[in-house]
Symmetry: C4
Subunit: 243 residues, 4 copies
């Protein structure tokens, strides 16, 4: 009998660790380890890199805009797959489009140490790419949802039109009730910049959903750990509700 990994990980167990990371204890090496994690390969696991074959040829790229008060970087993070049987695999952790905001601390100077992440799910990507020129949207994330830390950190990303179809204003607020911090990142995004995001996000969407891998299987991707032994192969409704 086959053992399958869960279809959608419950957000608090796996995804939030990834998405938020150690946001409250930022280390100098976080930028690198965040990228390394994106392929489910930790820098402390060179054995996995060896297993992953060509995945040693990982490449990093993003789209970054610098504005008066903050900078924003956008980059796709692929889903990870777990083996289910005879070499087949299934999406284990869904991919995201990672937005990274960090503040300006002077003219053309930005403090990377104060960065904050906001991971867009496929549906949130769908919301952004279908946004009309005069429409707004807002996403609320609680990275610790359904854990004992629920409500400790609240993130809100709002996208509001600049007017005259000239672009959008992006506004990220991160409230940490334990640390009593309230961070805010605001950037105007021009119509041209948003068109780049819209095109790049539309391109990335089928890939963060893993559909490109259905269509053209690639090298095996090594999950960080053996998938849980469970007979539940159904999609997990908690994921969508838990937001």
């Amino acid at each position: 009998m086959l053992k399958l990994c869960r279809f959608l990980p419950s957000r608090n167990e796996q995804a939030s660790n990834f998405l938020l990371g150690k946001a409250t204890k930022i280390k100098d090496t976080f930028w690198l380890s965040a990228f390394s994690c994106q392929h489910g390969i930790s820098t402390s696991g060179p054995d996995l890199v060896a297993n992953a074959g060509n995945f040693s040829h990982r490449r990093f790229a993003d789209y970054t805009i610098f504005k008066g008060k903050a900078a924003l970087s956008v980059s796709p993070k692929l889903p990870s797959f777990c083996k289910v049987d005879s070499g087949s695999s299934r999406v284990d952790r869904k991919g995201v489009v990672m937005m990274t905001f960090w503040p300006a601390v002077g003219q053309r100077k930005y403090d990377w140490q104060k960065k904050q992440f906001f991971a867009l799910s496929p549906t949130e990507v769908g919301s952004l790419i279908s946004l009309g020129p005069d429409e707004s949207c807002e996403f609320l994330h609680d990275p610790s949802m359904k854990s004992s830390l629920e409500g400790q950190v609240r993130k809100s990303l709002s996208v509001t039109p600049l007017g005259n179809s000239s672009g959008y204003f992006l506004n990220l607020t991160v409230v940490n009730t334990i640390q009593k911090t309230n961070e805010r990142f605001s950037l105007p995004v021009t119509k041209a910049e948003f068109a780049v995001m819209r095109t790049a996000l539309s391109y990335a969407l089928p890939h963060i959903m893993g559909w490109d891998q259905v269509i053209r299987p690639q090298l095996p991707n090594i999950p960080r750990s053996t998938p849980k032994q469970q007979s539940d192969v159904l999609p997990d409704p908690d994921f969508e509700w838990g937001r």
Copy 2:
């Protein structure tokens, strides 16, 4: 002289067996076997998997939304190709976008055993991705069309606007006149969720049509059986009319 497989299989002979499967005799293993069939490789044919080379690296991914009364999963199913000559191949069975509906049976609980499939043809995908915000469409399928069972099972998928350009209402009805069952699955799909579907379906469309394989041939795909020996190499008009 070359022997070619038929351009389009008659729906009742091959495709309907695949698309409807054993919907009236659902087994616990159906979910897995359904996916295995998607590449034209049955789980009982490990020799074919061996022949298919890298196709042992098959990957499964979909887009799933959970709503109050039902859940919906959408996933591309690639076409299969049959060899025609000296290694060349031609689309044998057209690909589809498979929609799977299953009902809620309690709060955040869904009964996967009661799922129903609805396979979107390329033209039906075209209808969905070009749907205006205030437009509707409806697709009627008879999986046993032109067989002795014609009319036994009737499926109807309707897509109607929610109003205010806020999304669509998806409604699948499956009437089985022999079993005297009438199942109905209803889900509201938000504008953001429909944008994900539209983008993913637009991405998948050239692939379920096989155009990506014209452009970049991949590994050989093993058909389940030797194509019929017939001199008729023309597209089969029955397919479109038979719907």
Copy 3:
């Protein structure tokens, strides 16, 4: 010093032979040889197939619609490349989207022998995919343009709206003044079918332009003949003007 192939072949010397083929002397094997030509590998040249490596895994796919008076099949034809130096190559013959029309000769019966081709250039593809719901366009081709046979065969494809944004009417006229024939193929194309074409043509466009090969070089493609030894490496303005 490097010898380069011409950037754009003059239409009458190479392309028209390919595009029109032997339309006036249709043989039973034409369908196959037309497809074989698409990759610049003739079925009579198995040595080239051997050279082309994986190109023996050529795959054929199209999008076909059957209507009351005619059928239409659409399929991408890739450009061919010619070597320029040390393994690099450049587009030699531009790709097209090939439309094939053939008439109905009874209920659900079509005569493939009476087919006519119409090869859409990249710019003509651009015209189709940007066509507004109430707009029309018309393309005129003289396959023998600038040869001694100029004016002998005239093809005209018109695309006119059906009204109510419900699709388009495609109308191909082929007039052969020598054979004194005048063939006409007419099909209504629904909005959904045109959406499939628009999506598939948009997908195919960068590929028939060869841009995908700039971005991700693939297996070497063997040109049918050694490119002409000429020092002229400039784009050839005759191509656009000669239409």
Copy 4:
């Protein structure tokens, strides 16, 4: 500890050398060397070609239109990557969409020696592909910006509507204050031609941003020189401001 290349090269140090090239000293071989540079492999470095494996199968393609007073060719130029650690790599030099203009010097005669380049950044590509039918845009480039030659050469590309949604007028002006030259290239671009550009540019955009390489790593790309040893791994705000 890892040494990373700069995220975005300062425009004047690396990119402008590439983008403008030796525009003021055009040689016969420039067309070829420009293409060779596009992959970060100089023709004088055959050892690098050897290292790059399949990159010896480089392919060149563009989209060219010929008009009464000038011709325009558009082609994607990929980003280059530099190694950061254990085989991973990061975008070193951003990709562009290169536009090449050259003047007509007679009926259907063009002077390739008088060509001028204009390299569209990702954001400028975003501006073009989101341009409404009645909208205009203008890009200003100073290829020597922030060097001692700043202000010597000024390039301006304007895109203005032809009216009736029938296309755009492209107008490139290159003013060289040292050489006291003022060149001007003007082309009407039809709606169909612009649709080709829009589709091809939308296709190319994720690739010049390097996102396709995040999603599907390819062969290693050899940077022309070892990246600078610097601990600064942050995106460089000078790039955007320096324009």
